[in-house]
């Protein structure tokens, strides 16, 4: 098991290295001159040239990538003399549009995305698995049909639509909540909840739908298994059979997909953050695209990739824990 984890982690690091190369090359290939974007429209050529040297864009692409990679581990210093500044490790570069180190920007926006992801995750797991279980236990009855309708609506509506619908109905039409205005939970927990409840709900509605389907189908499939019948034939109570036999079998794919979904959310919920104007990583990514802010773009992409690769490793390990048949000796 230990060896298995070490091997997985080793390959995960290799994969991330490959992702960083591809990302860096891809974004560097964009027809944008980063140095020209460092100062406004009326920039003088000599300032652009100075900035190019200062930020390292005068070097070859291989050298640039090497400096970028090195920066992640040891930090990076820019410029010389009076104009010198540095981005400490782990450094993903310097944003010339926002005039800050990329790591600082990500560090500031990531907690927002993390709060959003964790809250939404808890909500959608409760709603999705709960409604799926209710549907499976009442197969063919109105509860099942309601869950089915919910699934169909949930998987077919786009995020921006649900987000705006929730925003419009709760804030503007019903007036129950004020317009979301993000505040750190450390500052004012009540205001924080007020701002987060709608984005949580939006993401939960959208993601719960597929979990409803997954849970329902998984449970119904398990209920037809011989070993579930043997559980009943042993004289076990219904609740024990449901928990140890039916749910146990249905849980494996749910955990797998939940891990991956959660990780991709941690990389930034771009649309939800935009609709509810949450200063998260998704919004940072969008802004960097609009402003052609390459270092930020590369940084956010890499951070998202780290989460997804890590989640894959964790899910693989979880899979072994949950299903003895795939456990490696």
């Amino acid at each position: 098991m230990f060896l298995f984890v070490v091997r997985r982690l080793f390959f995960a690091v290799l994969l991330l290295l490959a992702v960083s190369v591809v990302t860096y090359l891809l974004f560097s290939a964009l027809p944008v001159d980063p140095a020209a974007l460092t100062c406004g429209k009326n920039c003088k050529p000599d300032i652009i040239a100075a900035n190019r040297i200062r930020l390292g864009y005068d070097k070859s692409i291989v050298e640039q990538y090497w400096l970028f990679l090195k920066g992640i581990f040891v930090g990076r210093d820019y410029g010389m003399g009076q104009a010198a500044f540095s981005c400490p490790a782990p450094s993903f570069g310097y944003s010339f549009a926002q005039h800050e180190c990329v790591t600082t920007l990500i560090g500031r926006t990531f907690p927002v995305t993390a709060y959003l992801s964790i809250g939404a995750f808890i909500m959608w797991m409760i709603i999705g698995v709960g409604s799926g279980a209710i549907a499976a236990l009442n197969k063919g009855k109105w509860q099942d049909r309601l869950a089915n309708a919910f699934t169909a609506v949930g998987v077919s509506l786009p995020t921006f639509y649900v987000g705006l619908l929730v925003l419009f109905s709760v804030v503007i039409w019903l007036g129950i909540l004020p317009f979301p205005d993000y505040v750190s939970p450390l500052e004012d927990p009540i205001k924080f909840l007020n701002a987060m409840i709608l984005p949580w709900l939006t993401l939960a509605i959208l993601s719960a739908a597929s979990y409803t389907r997954l849970t329902r189908n998984g449970m119904l499939e398990a209920m037809n298994e011989d070993f579930v019948r043997l559980g009943v034939a042993k004289g076990l109570s219904r609740s024990v059979v449901l928990r140890k036999y039916v749910m146990r079998a249905a849980m494996v794919p749910i955990v797998t997909i939940a891990g991956l979904d959660f990780a991709s959310l941690l990389g930034g919920a771009i649309i939800t953050e935009s609709v509810f104007s949450l200063p998260g990583m998704g919004k940072l990514a969008i802004r960097s695209v609009v402003e052609s802010d390459l270092p930020v773009l590369v940084g956010t992409t890499l951070v998202s990739a780290v989460f997804i690769v890590l989640a894959n490793v964790i899910v693989d390990i979880m899979y072994g824990v949950l299903d003895p048949r795939v456990r490696v000796k």
């Binding site: 043997l230 004289g235 076990l236 299903d323």
Partner: protein, 341 residues
């Protein structure tokens, strides 16, 4: 036979399922009695209602789609009408089951030791951890699993098919049930393992004195193990006989077909295996009268009676066999003697 105590009484059991295509009549008007220590075989083709019968005896059929009528009495309790709690008390303690496919009958997420312990604990909540562990090892030894202490901590996928079936038997017998339902217990196993499993079940039957209801399509297994046999066709019993009588003078055209279809080393049939013409009827839409008449080569001897009137199960012939057939007794005995051996 009559001196022994009946442990299972089935009276007029009918089971039907509601499906999108209509109502499937899986079991029709089935009655039999199983006595203490007795072995009763139920034989029939796929779709003859054998497995549904087995499941009904423990009320394991889907409660939403299945409708059961009649009575199934175990330890004085009517399984079909009793409360869920009462039936649960019977399951595993009075009446237990061995399933057809050992590959899918065990929960893949728990160790086999845990699964045996679970079956014991549910009916012995007062047992201490040490007692439960001792019981698990005792059962695993009893069913012939080497290194029980070590293997109890392994998962089902680490066992072979025959070993898994031994575990299933250990689970079934952990509470010393009076009735063991064996639903095709050897069908999914290799031929060499089949005999081992049957021998094990019979040895444990001698030890525990339990009654076995053996459900199979394999006449060879029936001949080896059972004392009385019910032959089922399309959800009905068509013949009920002592196992020797069944092989000596079978009294139903369907039984003649089944016995004729048994491959034997002695009879040379020029490489051809004999079969029963036609296919089993759809349980959605049973033939009128005797359900076997479309496949029966003797149906024409009775005029139109076979297509209009369902034959009753009555005693026919010199032996104590019961048969549901319209043919006259003399004719049945005449053909039966030719088919039997």
């Amino acid at each position: 036979m009559s001196s022994q105590k009946p442990v299972l009484i089935v009276e007029n059991l009918s089971v039907s399922f509601a499906t999108p295509d209509g109502i499937v009549h899986a079991v029709n008007d089935l009655s039999f009695v199983l006595h203490e220590g007795e072995t009763l075989g139920i034989v029939g083709e796929s779709g003859s209602g054998k497995s549904v019968t087995a499941a009904s005896l423990m009320r394991l059929n889907n409660s939403v789609t299945a409708t059961s009528t009649g009575r199934v009495v175990v330890a004085g309790v009517d399984v079909l009408s009793a409360s869920e709690a009462d039936v649960r008390r019977l399951r595993g303690s009075e009446i237990a089951m061995v399933f057809q496919d050992p590959m899918s009958a065990l929960n893949p997420y728990y160790t086999v030791g845990y699964q045996i312990a679970e079956a014991y604990e549910v009916h012995h909540p007062e047992a201490s951890k040490a007692q439960v562990n001792a019981k698990v090892l005792e059962m695993m030894t009893k069913v012939g699993i080497p290194n029980p202490a070590q293997r109890a901590d392994e998962y089902p996928h680490q066992f072979s098919g025959g070993m898994r079936q031994r575990i299933v038997i250990a689970i079934a017998l952990v509470n010393d049930p009076k009735i063991l339902i064996a639903d095709e217990p050897t069908t999914a196993l290799d031929v060499t393992v089949q005999a081992q499993i049957l021998d094990l079940m019979l040895a444990l039957q001698v030890e525990n004195g339990m009654a076995i209801l053996l459900i199979t399509h394999d006449l060879g297994v029936i001949a080896e193990v059972a004392r009385d046999v019910l032959v089922m066709y399309a959800g009905r019993v068509v013949e009920k006989a002592d196992v020797e009588d069944l092989f000596e003078i079978p009294t139903h055209p369907y039984s003649w077909g089944l016995l004729g279809a048994v491959a034997s080393l002695e009879v040379s049939s020029r490489g051809h295996l004999r079969t029963i013409e036609g296919t089993p009827p759809s349980l959605l839409n049973l033939p009128s009268g005797c359900a076997f008449h479309p496949r029966c080569s003797f149906a024409s001897e009775n005029g139109s009676r076979c297509t209009t009137e369902t034959p009753l199960l009555v005693q026919k012939g010199p032996k104590h066999s019961f048969s549901a057939c319209h043919l006259p007794v003399e004719r049945i005995v005449e053909i039966g003697q030719k088919v039997g051996n």
